[in-house]
Symmetry: C2
Subunit: 504 residues, 2 copies
C-alpha cells in the first residue's frame, strides 16, 4: 500500500513539478481544460484573480496617460501579408475563418457554407488591424501621440498547451502607441516595461529582471523587445510581459505618416506592449507550495476567510453573530489603501475539509471561530505562508490585520527573491555551462539549473549549444552591462552579458 | 447656396433620423466602421462609456449572487447540432473556423492550410459550450444553483449592420445559471430582467417596459423570453436586454442532470440573460439632440468639463491655478455616492470650437472660467440639457453640483418617459392600427407610429398584417394584463394585450 499523502497536493514539486502545477490548478479550482482543443475554462476563483490583476494594471495604464478602446477580433488575411517578419511569426498558428454560415449536410449534420471572398484571421495580436486604423487617424503632428490599450482575447494555434501558460485562446491587454519621434517611442517602451516590473514585484510579489531580448528572441517585426523575466520554483525562466519598440517597421508597412510642424511628411514611430493570463500561471509557480495555491495578499480575491465552528443550532446563532461583527470590523480596516476583503464560509462541510479547501485555494489568512474563542474573545489564526496556527486576542488581530497582510506580501517577495538569488550563477566556460543545465538523470530530470549570467559574443556562434541543452537567452539585463568580457563558449571578446535559462 | 446649419448635427432628427444617428456617433467620437466587414472600432470616449456601464452592471450582478468566469470563444460545430431550434436560430449567421494556419500561395500571397477535422464556430452566444461544461460540474443537488456571468465578445454574421445597434462582432455579458427547480429558474429569469430594468431606468435614464416575448419572438430554444423595451426618439422600439427561462431544453440536449436529495436523477433548469454594446446605441437614440450626444450624468465619463479662457501667458497661469483648485473642490463633492468626475480641457483650440466639442460629446456640465469670472468669483455654467448658459457664484455652484447632476438625470428620464407616454396609444381596430403605422409619404417616411397597445387573439392570424406594416409584437407587458378583450384584427376573444411597434 502507498504511504498516505503528507501534503495536500500530490505529487509534490520535487516529485513531478509539471504534474504538481496541474494539480494546484485543480485543487484551487482556478481553471480546467475545455472540450475545445487547447482552450481552457477560467473558473470563478481564477477569474476573480484575473479581475484583480486587470483592475490594478488598468489603473496603472490610465495613470500613465493611456485610454482603452476596442478593435475587431477578425483581421483580413491580406493585412498580415504586409509586414514580412510579422506574417512569418504568426502564420503558422492562426485560426482562419473561411465561411459565414452553416447549412444542413446530407447526413443530417451541418457543414460550412457561404464562403468568404477573403479569409479572416482571429487576431493573434492586433498590430495590423490597429495600425490600419491609426493610419486613418494620424494626419498631423497634432494627432500624436496616440496612447491606447485594449483588453481582449486572442488566439494562437499552439500545438502543446498548458493551462494559463500556453493556451490556444488567452486573455490579455495590448497597448498600441504612436509617436512623432523615435526618442518618445523608446521612452514609452521603457515606461511600460517599468509598469509591468512594478506590477510584478509590488502586486504579484514576483521579482523580475528587466532586459532586452536578443535579435532571435524579438517580437516579429520589432526593433527592440524589452521583457520582464521571473524564475519559477523549478528554476526555469518565465517571460511575464513584453514591451516592443517597433521603430517605423509597421508604420511604413501600413502608411502611418504625419505632417511635421515644419511641413514635412514622416512615418511615425510605434510601440506595443502586453501581458496576459499567463501571469496567473506565473503567480501559481512563484508562490504555491505542496499544499496548494498561495496568493499574494494584494491580489487575493479574499484576503481573510472566517470559518465559524459550532455543534448545534444554539451555538450556530451565537457564533454567526460574533462572526458577522468580526467581519464588519475587519472590513473597516485597510491594506494597501483598500478595505480588507473578508469572506465567511458557512457551508455545511466538515471543519477539516473546509479548512483545507481554503488552504488549497491560497487564501492568505484563515480564522476559525467557535464558542471557546468567543468566551476568550480571541481568534484562531492561520497564515498561508506559515505552517502552524495561533490564538490571538481579537482586538490585536483586528488592529494589526493590515500590517500582517503587508508582512505576508513582503515575505512572499523575499522568499521568491531568495530562490532566484541562490540559483543565479556567473559562468565563464562551456564545461560549467553544460554541467549547470544538464540533469543528473536524463530519463527523469530533477529540478536543476537556474539563471546563468554569461558574457557572449554573438547568438549565431552559440546557437547549436543552446539548442542541444534546450537553453535560451532570456535577456540582456539593463543592469550589470557596464563592462565587457570574454564569451563563455567561444572565448572571443564580448560586450554583453545575458541571462541564460531553460524557459516556459 | 445652402443655409448655414443651425444645429451642430446635420441632418437633424426630423430631416433624416438614421443619418442623424451616424453623425452623432461621428461627432461624439464614439466609434467608427472598421476595415473588417460589419465590425466597428469602439473609440476611447465610447469605450469609457461602455466601461461605466460594465462596472455598474457587474456590481449589480455580484450583489445578486453571481460570479464571473470565462469560457472558450470557439465552439465545436457538433455542439450546435444538439438543440434543434438553437441551431436553426444561429446557423445562418455563424463565422466558421476551418483552418489553423496560413501558408504561402503560388502568387506570393497567403492561403489557409491545416484543415481542422471538425470546424469551429465563433460563439454567437454560449449556451452550448457553457452547458457542456456545466454537465460535468453538476452531479448532485448540492452543486446547485450555478450562478455565473461572462463578459465577452460574440460574432453574428449580420448582413445589414449599424454601429452599436447591429454589428457582426459585439461586446456583451451573458449570464448562464442552473437550478434544481423550475420555480427557482423562473425566479432568476425575473430577477435579472428586473436588474436590467433598474439599470436602464436608474443609470441610463431610459424608461423601459418589461414583458414576455411571444412564441415567434423568443430566443431559439427558450421556454420564455423576458425583455425590456424602450422607445427611441423616432418612436421605434429597441429591445435593450433579454432574460430567458430555458426550461429543461438545453439540460436535456446537453445532459445537465443531478441527483436530488431523495436520490432521483433529474434534468436541471437553466436560464440565460444578456445585454450588449447595443445599449450604447439605445442611449444615443434616447437622449441625444440636434447638437449631438447627451450623456446621463450617472454614466458620463466626465460629468463636468472645465474650459479655461485666457489671452496671454500671464492670464494663463492665473486661470489655470484657479481652475485646478476648482477641479479639486468639485472632485471632493459626490453624486450618486461617487466623487464627481471632472475634466479640464486646456488644449490649444479656439474657445467656440472647444465648447462645441464637449457639447457634441454630451458632457453634462461645461464651465468656462476666464479672468473676469475669477474677479467676480463666479463660474459660467452650461447644462447639456438646457440651451443657455448662466453665471453662478462659485461656492453655490460647487455646493449644489451633486444636486444639479441628479436633477439632470431625472430630467432626462422624465423627457424620455414623456415622449413614450405621448406616443403610446390603445388601438382596438385594424383600420386605426394601419393608419398609426403608415407613414404619410412612403418614399420619404417621416417619423411616425409609436407603441400600440392592442388585444390580440394569436400571432398566426395577424402575421400577414404585421409583415405588411413591418410591425412586430414587442412584448406582452407584465402590467395591464388583468382583464381580457377583443382582438384588434380578428375580433375574436383575446386574453392578452401586447405592445406593437416598428423596431430596431
Ligand atoms: Zn512584423
Ligand atoms: Zn435552442
Amino acid at each position: 500500500m502507498a504511504k498516505p499523502p503528507q501534503t495536500a497536493i500530490q505529487p509534490t514539486r520535487a516529485d513531478d513539478y509539471p504534474e504538481w502545477y496541474q494539480q494546484v490548478i485543480r485543487a484551487a479550482d482556478l481553471a480546467e481544460n475545455s472540450p475545445v482543443r487547447g482552450c481552457m475554462v477560467i473558473k470563478p476563483w481564477g477569474y476573480r484573480l484575473w479581475e484583480n490583476m486587470q483592475r490594478a494594471l488598468d489603473d496603472m495604464f490610465k495613470a500613465t496617460g493611456h485610454q482603452n478602446a476596442y478593435f475587431p477580433l477578425l483581421i483580413p488575411m491580406s493585412f498580415l501579408e504586409k509586414e514580412a517578419e510579422h506574417v512569418e511569426g504568426f502564420a503558422k498558428e492562426c485560426a482562419v475563418v473561411t465561411h459565414h454560415r452553416l447549412e444542413p449536410d446530407p447526413d443530417g449534420g451541418l457543414r460550412p457554407a457561404g464562403k468568404l471572398e477573403e479569409p479572416l484571421i482571429i487576431r493573434p495580436t492586433s498590430e495590423t488591424i490597429i495600425g490600419a486604423t491609426y493610419a486613418k487617424w494620424v494626419q498631423s503632428y497634432r494627432d500624436l501621440p496616440i496612447l491606447i490599450n485594449q483588453w481582449a482575447n486572442v488566439v494562437r494555434w499552439e500545438m502543446r498547451t498548458r493551462m494559463f501558460l500556453r493556451t490556444a485562446e488567452f486573455l490579455w491587454q495590448e497597448g498600441h502607441t504612436v509617436h512623432a519621434t523615435a526618442a518618445e517611442a523608446i521612452e514609452e517602451t521603457e515606461r511600460m516595461i517599468n509598469v509591468y516590473a512594478d506590477f510584478a514585484e509590488n502586486w504579484m510579489a514576483m521579482p523580475v529582471i528587466v532586459g532586452s531580448k536578443t535579435a532571435a528572441e524579438r517580437f516579429p517585426g520589432a526593433v527592440d523587445t524589452l521583457s520582464i523575466e521571473a524564475m519559477m520554483q523549478d528554476r526555469k525562466a518565465l517571460q511575464a510581459g513584453t514591451s516592443h519598440f517597433l521603430g517605423q517597421n509597421f508604420s511604413k508597412a501600413q502608411e502611418i505618416a504625419f505632417q511635421t510642424e515644419a511641413g514635412d511628411r514622416e512615418f511615425a514611430w510605434t510601440t506595443s506592449w502586453g501581458v496576459s493570463t499567463r501571469l496567473v500561471g506565473a503567480l501559481i509557480m512563484t508562490h504555491s507550495d505542496d499544499d496548494g495555491f498561495v496568493l499574494p495578499p494584494r491580489l487575493a480575491p479574499s484576503q481573510v476567510v472566517i470559518l465559524p465552528i459550532y455543534r448545534d443550532q444554539a451555538q450556530r446563532a451565537e457564533v454567526l453573530e460574533y462572526v458577522a461583527s468580526l467581519q464588519k470590523e475587519l472590513m473597516a480596516q485597510t491594506y494597501a489603501g483598500l478595505p480588507i476583503r473578508v469572506e465567511v464560509d458557512d457551508r455545511d462541510v466538515r471543519g477539516g475539509e473546509k479548512k483545507w479547501h481554503h488552504v488549497k485555494r491560497g487564501v492568505p489568512i484563515r480564522i476559525e471561530v467557535g464558542p471557546k474563542d468567543i468566551e476568550k474573545n480571541s481568534v484562531f489564526v492561520g497564515r498561508r505562508d506559515q505552517a502552524k496556527s495561533v490564538g490571538l486576542p481579537r482586538a490585536e488581530f483586528i488592529q494589526t490585520i493590515g500590517k500582517t497582510l503587508a508582512d505576508m506580501q513582503q515575505n512572499l517577495f523575499d522568499r521568491a527573491l531568495e530562490l532566484r538569488e541562490s540559483n543565479t550563477v556567473d559562468i565563464d566556460n562551456e564545461a560549467e555551462f553544460r554541467k549547470f543545465f544538464t540533469p543528473k538523470n536524463e530519463a527523469q530530470p530533477e529540478i536543476h539549473g537556474g539563471f546563468a549570467r554569461c558574457y557572449f559574443a554573438d547568438e549565431a556562434s552559440i546557437d547549436a549549444l543552446l539548442k542541444e541543452l534546450k537553453v535560451t537567452i532570456r535577456c540582456v539585463p539593463r543592469d550589470h552591462n557596464d563592462v565587457s568580457g570574454v564569451c563563455f563558449a567561444t572565448g572571443r571578446p564580448a560586450a554583453k552579458k545575458a541571462i541564460f535559462a531553460k524557459a516556459y
